[in-house]
Symmetry: C2
Subunit: 195 residues, 2 copies
């Protein structure tokens, strides 16, 4: 018989919370509702997490770690600018799709964190986006990329990629890798065929 360890029970609670928050929004999720969803008493939830906000923090940080650890090695590599950005975009899609239940927390629900967590998380997100801005600016300096506001470009690129979490279906025709590649190509080279 399998026993549920403390750490896996903690993960199970965080996973269920991520799904509920993604569906209803953080403000509408209660610890009682979460307890009902995982079939536990409210007191059991509180033996793992001090508050609803601590659960939000756990989900947000776990997701942020995955984004950072996956994208940063590509950012630090010696690839040429265009190839580097292309792989960073595809990697962002890969992380988004394997965290798609928690993705709404990383994208917007983290705003419900109290201070100082909210500022800490905002700084982490900004450091993540800064890697992309840096590569876009590099490409602008090298004249590999067309004239565009780098901040505008990065917000647009990441938003386009983040949306995959909303419509991706594991039973659909396209695999996560194909989605990442097609999107990276479309965003780097445009929808327009060049002759």
């Amino acid at each position: 018989m399998k026993t549920t360890t403390t750490s896996s029970r903690r993960e199970q609670i965080a996973d269920a919370a991520a799904a509920l928050i993604g569906e209803k929004g953080y403000a509408a999720v209660s610890v009682r509702g979460l307890a009902d969803a995982v079939g536990l008493e409210t007191s059991s939830i509180y033996s793992h997490f001090a508050s609803k906000e601590e659960i939000l923090w756990e989900i947000a940080v776990r997701c942020a770690d995955d984004f950072h650890q996956t994208v940063e090695p590509i950012y630090r590599s010696n690839l040429h600018t265009r190839e580097k950005l292309s792989r960073m975009l595809a990697a962002h899609v890969a992380v988004t799709l394997r965290n798609r239940v928690a993705a709404p927390v990383f994208v917007q629900e983290w705003r419900h964190l109290g201070e100082p967590q909210r500022s800490q998380f905002a700084a982490r997100r900004d450091a993540y986006e800064a890697m992309f801005r840096d590569v876009v600016n590099q490409g602008l300096a090298e004249r590999v990329f067309r004239e565009i506001d780098a901040r505008l470009a990065v917000l647009t690129l990441l938003s386009a990629l983040n949306s995959t979490a909303r419509w991706y279906r594991p039973e659909g025709e396209l695999m996560p890798d194909e989605i990442g590649e097609q999107l990276a190509e479309m965003l780097l080279y445009g929808l327009t065929q060049s002759f």
Copy 2:
């Protein structure tokens, strides 16, 4: 002295509701909280709307009407495919930015509508997206656009444009028209400079 007409009071309630829903999510907004936000009694809200859901419907439909009425004439025009799509994308940004408070309702909160409104609204959104898919498919047939899954392309294009509602600041450097033009150009021609 200015008198508040029934229709402007109705609009005022809908506007305040859109802002609250955008901030907290539909599930977390109560009619009482909305009444507090606009400085009215709960009973006054109910003299204008039968339910919270009717307010959601009003916001969603008003926003959908603006998108349709702005984009459809461009879709029906005789412009060449690439120019047509470019103008449709820029028009989508213009409508998004002038409805940016209500935009989260059009993008995702409409899912909280009950039936049959939910299905009716989903059909309207699909008809809207179908105009874009149609133009992308036209461009694929004409070999003006590169090989890509048309559904994937349209979801990505619209998500990229929808994100402007989240980060646009009226006091920022870029005007709505410039944002629309830069994004349409980036999405159609890619970030990469062509020589």
